[in-house]
């Protein structure tokens, strides 16, 4: 996550410098603040980069920090567009309205949430009920042999749960999709600060299991397929299965604006939802809102 923050920061600085160097164009230049979800930050940066070609007079400063960061910035009125991998809660909407801000939700893509295990782990298939019993409060599945596998390099057999810090959109979505609305996480998971850290830790820890956006997957971790029911079809996470909704834990990704978008913000959002913008999100490993054909 640090890299994203840094990346966003460097980008912002560059944009400011470019903006100042523009001289004559300076007055017509608009800077949009775009902040939030770690899941979306790579895509948001790619969009901002590509949009420079479309409209050179619009600079977009992108930074990450997590969905909670984006949403609290929206509530405090310090961003133009907030990225979020979860819906705003009623409490948050209320707080925004109190500050005279009416957040409007735009779905910009879908993300399959992948389950990650160590590459040596022989597990091929996992069900939602099993995941709930691994992560949920009062967890009953604590060792790998309860799932019928023996993991080489993990002699104690204990399942090491890797999770996220408690305000990340990924954390909140996983809780709602897997544990249900009222069940809490079992305490004692390793709460990483960023999707990349989750994947890094799982990669180096044979006993571990973790979850994160599909876009953070790499060749050093394994992703078992996920079944909704024990006897149901087991679906592997991919852009296609997220798009046709057959994958059980795929979530919409949002951008929030303050009020109905106008002017530059509106043009930017329209461009994001156009084929060109949607091809960028598809290339980054997420599912577009609707099927697009990219060259």
């Amino acid at each position: 996550m640090k890299q994203h923050l840094l990346g966003g920061f460097v980008l912002a600085i560059t944009l400011v410098l470019v903006g100042c160097g523009g001289g004559a164009e300076r007055s017509s230049r608009v800077v949009l603040q775009n902040k939030g979800s770690d899941t979306l930050v790579n895509v948001a940066q790619a969009w901002a980069e590509a949009y420079k070609e479309v409209n050179p007079n619009l600079a977009i400063a992108v930074s990450g920090g997590g969905s909670g960061t984006g949403i609290s910035s929206m509530i405090n009125g310090t961003v133009d567009i907030a990225n979020s991998s979860r819906e705003m809660k009623d409490k948050e909407l209320e707080m925004a309205r109190k500050n005279g801000i009416e957040p409007v939700e735009h779905t910009v893509g879908f993300d399959a949430m992948a389950i990650f295990v160590h590459p040596d782990n022989p597990i091929e298939k996992i069900t939602l009920a099993q995941l709930a019993e691994i992560y949920g409060e009062g967890a009953t599945i604590k060792t790998w042999d309860q799932l019928g596998v023996e993991v080489p390099g993990c002699r104690s057999g204990e399942i090491i749960r890797v999770s996220r810090q408690n305000n990340s959109g990924t954390y909140v979505y996983f809780k709602e999709a897997v544990l249900g609305k009222t069940r809490d996480y079992e305490l004692g998971s390793r709460d990483m600060h960023g999707s990349k850290d989750v994947v890094d830790l799982v990669e180096h820890t044979p006993c571990a299991i973790g979850y994160s956006g599909l876009a953070y997957a790499n060749e050093h971790v394994k992703m078992p397929c996920v079944a909704k029911q024990a006897d149901g079809a087991c679906v592997a996470p991919s852009v296609e299965t997220a798009l046709d909704r057959s994958y059980a834990i795929a979530r919409p990704l949002f951008m929030y604006t303050s009020g109905e978008p106008e002017g530059a913000v509106k043009e930017y959002l329209n461009w994001i939802l156009s084929d060109e913008g949607q091809c960028i999100i598809a290339r980054k490993g997420y599912a577009p809102v609707a099927e697009v054909s990219c060259g």
């Binding site: 960061t69 002699r155 408690n166 809490d184 180096h204």
Partner: protein
């Protein structure tokens, strides 16, 4: 300088000082006095300001929502739960304490040893080189230490001890011990240097060996300074954030062995504060953790300071 200082000349000078000439130098003098005064009291103002700020943010929560008994005795830190948020900090306190405790176990013998070697045995070049190296160790940024913990120590601990995960009390305690060692070595060495050489000479004259001199004379004489060094190391451990966040596993857990993952108070604030809405219960709960940390480190540093003052008065 006047060649002769007679009583008359002195009284003339004093008279002149009473009726200051308001020239440029006079104004510069007053301006510098004012600036130095502001500089001098700013430290106090800042510390009061910070204390007022964190208390203001956390106080309403302590008074209204928080159950102090639960806060100090429950290990359930679950501030974002929708239906039943709990604010138990015991696991976090245990995490910070266990990591700092192990760090002290590791670093106290090493830093005192290093201080004794540098202060009593090493001579000339070796001594200077060692001092510089120890101070260089203090200059390594904590995120670099955290990175070492995450990517080098983690797999190493898993392989060596055959445990499921290497991000635990052992990992962060070792890292923190290395981080606290330079400050402790430097202060302990200063304390040993403050022991007058006449003590050593007297002991040697009585036929004491080098070790007897150190053990029976120098260490007892420098006791206060050594205690202060250890306390400042403890303060450093309590306050350290980034390295502990990365190396401890960041897991809410009451540790029963050094191979358990834990979560520290500082790391919890660092990980969660950025994503909470200003003014929410969660936000104010984090400030309550901040107050707790502030009070603990304040007491530790104050004690260390009083102990150091103790030697100076003697």
């Amino acid at each position: 300088m006047e060649p002769q200082t007679t009583d008359r000349a002195r009284s003339r000078r004093e008279r002149r000082r009473g009726e200051d000439r308001r020239d440029r130098n006079w104004y510069i003098d007053k301006a510098v006095q004012a600036l130095v005064f502001i500089g001098g009291i700013s430290g106090i103002l800042f510390i009061i300001g910070i204390f007022v700020f964190i208390t203001k943010e956390g106080y309403g929560f302590i008074a209204e929502t928080l159950d102090i008994g639960e806060f100090l005795t429950s290990p359930r830190w679950r501030p974002t739960s929708d239906h039943n948020p709990t604010y138990g900090a015991l696991a976090l306190i245990a995490g910070t304490t266990s990591v700092t405790g192990l760090a002290m176990l590791v670093s106290v013998p090493f830093s005192l040893g290093a201080a004794i070697y540098i202060g009593e045995f090493a001579k000339g070049r070796t001594r200077e080189t060692l001092k510089i190296l120890v101070e260089l160790l203090a200059a390594i940024p904590s995120v670099v230490w955290g990175f070492i913990g995450l990517s080098i120590m983690n797999p190493l601990i898993i392989k060596t001890f055959n445990v499921p995960i290497g991000l635990n009390v052992l990992n962060s305690g070792l890292i923190l011990g290395l981080m606290a060692a330079p400050i402790m070595t430097t202060i302990a060495e200063d304390a040993l240097k403050a022991v007058p050489d006449t003590y050593r000479e007297a002991a040697e004259a009585l036929g004491a060996t080098k070790w007897q001199v150190i053990y029976r004379v120098v260490l007892p004489a420098g006791k206060n300074g050594l205690v202060a060094a250890v306390l400042l190391g403890v303060g450093r451990g309590f306050g350290e954030t980034m390295a502990v966040l990365m190396a401890s596993g960041h897991s809410i857990n009451l540790p029963t062995s050094v191979f358990d993952s834990v979560r520290a108070l500082t790391a919890t604030i660092a990980a969660e504060l950025g994503e909470t809405a200003v003014g929410s219960d969660h936000y104010r709960a984090l400030f309550t953790l901040g107050i707790l940390l502030f009070v603990v480190t304040f007491v530790i540093n104050l004690t260390a300071d009083l102990v150091v003052r103790g030697i100076r008065k003697k």
